[in-house]
Structures are given as structure tokens and as C-alpha cells.
């Protein structure tokens, strides 16, 4: 998605990304980025929380209008939860036994093969 933003921007279309993976988007380097510090999958606001969705879009529109230059990131002030411990869970290896890791590897290989089959089928 960051690559698409860069390509549009280089061809005269202003862009803003709404996203939750701050390091990945900034590592790529994009013109404008409204970052929500939420679990992946909630780039447009909290589920079933219209005011949070309205606020998130409005912030993105303001970033689109007012960014002074490329690599402008604004972080939404909204909090997913007062307790930030949810952030510790994503791909947390310390919670996985060697057996569990082997299981995950098997799952990942299966998923890769499905994707490969699908990709080659088109």
C-alpha cells in the first residue's frame, strides 16, 4: 500500500495512508500517514464506534490538507485501551513452546502453498 501511495504521489495525486503499522509504513517512506495505535485491522477507527471512525477520517483529511512535506506522520490521540498490554502479544515468541513453533511452521507452509496455488492459477 505504501508503494501505491508513492507511485500515485509521484504522478501528481496527493495521498494519505491510514494505518496501524507505524514502523513498516515509515520504513518504506510515504508522503502522508495518519497512524492509529490500534491492533492491525483497525486503520479506519474502532469497531462499532462511529465517533472514533469520524475522528480518524477527519484527522486523515487534515493530514492530506496540511502536511508540510513528505514523511509527515500524525498519530491519532485515540487509545485502543487504557491498558497497553495488548501490544505485547503480537508474534510473542516467549509465549510459544518449541512444539507450538513447529506447529506454526506447518501452518505457515500450508498457507504459503495455498497462496502459491492461487497465484499460479490466475
Amino acid at each position: 500500500m505504501s508503494l501505491a501511495a508513492r507511485h500515485l504521489e509521484a504522478n501528481g495525486i496527493s495521498t494519505v495512508i491510514m494505518g496501524c503499522a507505524k514502523d513498516i509504513v515509515e520504513h518504506c517512506g510515504v508522503p502522508r500517514f495518519l497512524f492509529s495505535d490500534f491492533p492491525l485491522g483497525n486503520s479506519a477507527g474502532k469497531p462499532f464506534d462511529v465517533p472514533s471512525q469520524v475522528q480518524t477520517l477527519e484527522l486523515a483529511l487534515r493530514v492530506l490538507e496540511r502536511a508540510p512535506g513528505p514523511r509527515t506522520t500524525v498519530q491519532s490521540p485515540l487509545r485502543w485501551n487504557d491498558d497497553a498490554r495488548w501490544k505485547l502479544d503480537y508474534n510473542d515468541l516467549s509465549k510459544l513452546s518449541p512444539e507450538k513453533i513447529a506447529e506454526r511452521k506447518k501452518e505457515f507452509e500450508a498457507v504459503k502453498n495455498i497462496a502459491k496455488g492461487k497465484r499460479e492459477g490466475v
Binding site: A4, L8, E9, P47, E58
Partner: protein
């Protein structure tokens, strides 16, 4: 001075209360599974096009990584496990004034802490329509576009982003909102 005063306690946020370092976590995770490190797209230079006219006079497009629901492709419902069978490999477009059934079971969203039950949390289509109706943005593109989540940077750069630009030009938009899920 006879009285002693206690300085107020300094209360910083918890040390872990920062944006999740996804790249490091993902590197460590796949290394533990026995895979070579993934290389994320990375550039030193970033293009910039200032908005050509006020937003209230601009036409705005929307690009998502969400996938059209495919009845034959397995569980894509809220909380579905990662479903590579629901991926798509070509840019698609749907009318902006429709109510498309777009899901995110084909990407690595945070299944421990969210369920993808509300499309409005990953696709700001309804909110964007409201913003257009209120005059906050001038108008919306006739359609929104779906960007494939390929693992190949080459395909993304040589095929997908070119197709997206073509479609955005046909839509004559001034600006695009891109929402990865």
C-alpha cells in the same frame, strides 16, 4: 524551612506502551520458525504532491487491501483464521455508491485483539460518504479500488501500482486515501 514537601511522582507511560515494532517482531518470529529474514520496502526519497485545490473542491478516491467476499473460498467471517485462499491477485474496482462486502481474512490483522466484525474499522467508505455529503470533500471517485497484498515487491511495483494509477487517472481524482488492513 520547617516543612518538607514531597515532589509529585513522575508518571511516565509504561515502557511497552509504544507503537508495536512489527518489523522486529516479525523478523524474530520467522527466524524462530526457520525462515530467512523478510526485506520490507525501503526508500530514502519520498515524493510529495501538495493538494492542488481545497479539499472541499477536490475529488477523492479510496484504495483498500480488503478482499471481495468469495463464497467458495472458506471462512472469511469475523475472527476467521488467516485465509490465504481468500487472497486476490489483480486490482479490482467496485462502485463507491455500493455497499461492497469486503473482508480481511486474507491478511495478518491482529486476531488476538480484534475480530474484523465491523467493516467501518478497516474501510472508511461510510464515513467518507458522510464527509462528501457534508461538503468536507468536494466529491468522491465513482469507484474504489482494491490493491492485492502480494508478497512480491516486483509484482506490486511492476503491475499493481501501475494499474492503480491508471484507474485513478480514469477517475480524475485529486487525492487518494489508502487504507491497508
Amino acid at each position: 524551612m520547617a516543612t518538607t514537601t514531597t515532589a509529585p511522582a513522575i508518571e511516565f507511560a509504561a515502557e511497552h506502551d509504544t507503537p508495536i515494532p512489527y518489523m522486529q517482531r516479525t523478523r524474530d518470529y520467522y527466524e524462530a520458525l526457520g525462515y530467512a529474514p523478510y526485506r520490507w520496502a525501503h526508500y530514502a526519497d519520498v515524493p510529495f504532491t501538495p493538494l492542488a485545490r481545497p479539499l472541499a473542491q477536490s475529488r477523492v478516491g479510496l484504495i483498500t487491501t480488503a478482499a471481495p467476499f468469495q463464497p467458495e473460498a472458506g471462512d472469511q467471517g469475523p475472527g476467521a483464521v488467516y485465509n490465504a485462499g481468500a487472497k486476490f491477485y489483480k486490482v479490482y474496482s467496485v462502485p463507491m455508491d455500493s455497499t461492497p462486502d469486503l473482508r480481511i481474512s486474507h491478511v495478518g490483522y491482529d486476531r488476538a485483539h480484534t475480530t474484523a466484525e465491523d467493516i467501518n474499522a478497516y474501510l472508511p467508505l461510510a464515513r467518507l460518504r458522510e464527509a462528501a455529503a457534508a461538503g468536507r470533500v468536494g466529491s468522491l471517485a465513482a469507484r474504489l479500488h482494491g490493491a492485492p497484498t502480494n508478497r512480491s515487491h516486483r509484482t506490486t511495483l511492476e503491475v499493481d501500482v501501475i494499474e492503480l494509477l491508471d484507474r485513478c487517472r480514469q477517475d480524475a481524482i485529486d487525492a487518494a486515501i489508502l487504507v491497508p488492513s
